[in-house]
Subunit: 417 residues, 2 copies
């Protein structure tokens, strides 16, 4: 059967499964999630055996040791996957919530009720644990999911998909609710994003190339984020100790993630007090500083920043630093170079804090806290399937609720127009 038929059949099966899923109560879904967790633990030898096939290929192809490390599924990693599913069991079920209900002058009672999106196409390049996280969150929110993972994890993903189908079947749920596309052919992505009649939403997770490709070619709505060029503005009234702690955390704690700080903006009134010690601390952690002319004037051995540094998502121990004359200059800089992802202000000035929160057009805007808090778990959404930097549907981290939508229900007594 040609690949396009295979994937279309999978999508049809997913749609059929989604019809069953949307009527399920929390207990049924949680029972299945628990069984999925148990299956992972009970059948870990099979998983490890399939994973070994991926590891052999990865070593043959000379993948970097860090990549091989991330690909490896051992007892410890599988245990963490199962725990992840049990955490989803503990989260409330968003489906069925009445988000509002009101009465119209003609007596119609109109309400909005939360429902699953339907069928989700999830395309990712990351480690096999994403397969488990995505499967768990989609099932809990009543959605069927078709997973297309990275080619280097194909054997691992296929066995995970097969075990989940078994667990679903054993607990009376449609096994086609969670399906893994069983090929490394990239054409599969192209086919998947063209099935607009069968799939409701596409979530790509991976490098900018993948995401741009999916966005350009998809006929289905896409939730995605391109990049996080996150800023912290250290205001003239900041507590400099707090600023140092937060900026250090935002840059150094995990530099390779999208909510790490990439550019630090410093008010000129505190630059001389703040920057030398801060730069020293950053350098102690191996951070390379690239500064504006005023920075270089203040600390001559700083490498001058060039044009490309301001819009850059370094994802590395590199930081662009700019001294600004006033808060407006900081706001303009963020407006011009920011990616609508995450920005923070460090200040003790009430009015500037409020103005920053109001005027910065990013998915998460913080006062006196690290940009690293832009994360579904950290913000209290319970779990996260991704971060969306387009404004539609869900701006920012997406949890279970963001995998649902609302429909209108109307109770009438014979009303006509």
């Amino acid at each position: 059967m040609p690949l396009s038929n295979v994937i279309e059949e999978m999508a049809k099966d997913a749609r059929e499964a989604s019809r069953r899923l949307r009527g399920l109560g929390r207990t049924q879904k949680d029972t299945a999630l628990k069984r999925m967790a148990k299956t992972l633990l009970d059948r870990q030898e099979e998983i490890i055996k399939e994973n070994e096939k991926d590891l052999i290929l990865a070593r043959e192809e000379g993948l970097a040791p860090a990549m091989i490390d991330r690909l490896t599924l051992d007892k410890h990693v599988i245990g963490a996957m199962a725990e992840g599913l049990m955490e989803v069991v503990g989260l409330p079920d968003p489906v069925g919530e009445i988000t509002g209900m009101w009465k119209r002058p003609n007596g119609l009672q109109v309400g909005r009720v939360r429902i699953p999106l339907g069928v989700i196409g999830f395309i990712f390049e990351s480690r096999p644990n994403v397969t488990v996280d995505a499967a768990g969150l989609c099932l809990k929110s009543g959605n069927a999911v078709i997973l297309k993972g990275g080619s280097e994890a194909i054997h691992s993903n296929i066995i995970l998909g097969r075990l989940f189908a078994e667990a679903l079947d054993e607990t009376g749920l449609p096994p086609k609710a969670i399906q893994v596309i069983p090929t490394t052919d990239r054409e599969a992505v192209h086919i998947l994003i063209g099935l607009e009649e069968l799939i409701d939403i596409i979530i790509p997770r991976g490098g900018e190339g993948l995401i741009r490709y999916v966005t350009s070619h998809s006929r289905i709505p896409v939730l995605k984020h391109y990049k996080g060029v996150c800023h912290i503005y250290v205001d003239s009234s900041a507590s400099l100790d707090m600023a140092k702690e937060i900026c250090y955390n935002a840059k150094v704690q995990r530099p390779g993630v999208c909510n790490a700080m990439e550019t630090m903006l410093v008010h000129e009134a505190v630059a001389a007090d703040f920057l030398p010690a801060m730069v020293k601390q950053f350098r102690g952690a191996g951070v390379e500083i690239r500064g504006c002319p005023k920075c270089v004037e203040l600390i001559p051995d700083i490498r001058p920043a060039d044009k490309a540094d301001w819009p850059a998502e370094f994802l590395d121990l590199i930081l662009a630093v700019k001294i600004v004359s006033h808060m407006d200059e900081a706001l303009d800089h963020i407006e011009k170079y920011g990616s609508s992802h995450t920005e923070a202000i460090i200040t003790n000035d009430y009015n500037r804090a409020q103005r920053f929160l109001a005027e910065v057009d990013s998915s998460v805007v913080l006062v006196n806290a690290s940009t690293r808090f832009n994360d579904g778990n950290q913000l209290g959404l319970g779990a996260e399937i991704g971060i969306n930097t387009s404004k539609l549907h869900a701006f920012g981290p997406m949890g279970l609720e963001e995998l649902t939508t609302t429909k209108f229900i109307v109770y009438g007594q014979g009303q006509t127009r």
Copy 2:
């Protein structure tokens, strides 16, 4: 200047304007809306003069009298447009609403606040009054809008855009907040939907061809609805008088709109009591009935429905009728042929009413009321910019709130991870 540069400049101006708009309070926006309404009335002679140019071209091109009628702007129509804007003045401002706020264990105070989407590209084929409605709703929700109307209304749309820019300028708002693309070149649509860095959302309103074109080619998220194949299921326990009134209303009151009934499903237990009189009433109003074999058996002079009738959006005085043996058959039919738009059940059975509401996956699901109520005004959203049948962002009618999104704001005291 080439058209692509013209439109890109407009989009840049819109983005700049949207930065100003998102900080405005309700009073400033309402003042501008009132001025826009007043300008329409004060300058109606200019509008009528420009509209006359469109009418002359329309007559030369032999447009149907009904189309010419819809294109015509006279004192009465312009008065209604101004009233429409004044109604928007009366609606609450969705921007700035805190939709939730909570405290995290580490002391972070996390909230979600409603913000405008940013820049909206609105592409439509309809009458010039859509220009006014869309401009008013976008402004009230703090969005800049770029309007691309139908070519037959180009002179009317341009003068409306110019007058609105004046009104905005006079009230201290950025005149580029409302812009009309001053060309009939269809290439303009293609350029507009490619400007993903500048425009946040595209709303197309018009025929299925336009909407499919926009969805296939846009790199920007699209809110749209293809078609409304709306069903009413007359259950065995329905009050047949109520069913007759509602079905008649849903088909006949305005057959050319998306929330009119296209297929009527009737439980076989009441078919003999219900259908003959209902069909007679429909025929009295000029409705052509196309029936399933059981219908034809019951009423021999009914034209047999063919395959193409079940998924059809007739938008006309035509109705497909199917007799079903039980409610499941009705639900299956809706699942197969429905367009996720609007479906209603007529019943006095409590459990079937609740089951229909729960299981039908459409943007508006009604019990004992006409499908014609799927409308932003009728459901109490205050106004409507369109109906969305994709599940993302807003499923169903979209009012002011649906032209906004939420961002997270975080109040910290020095928290790091």
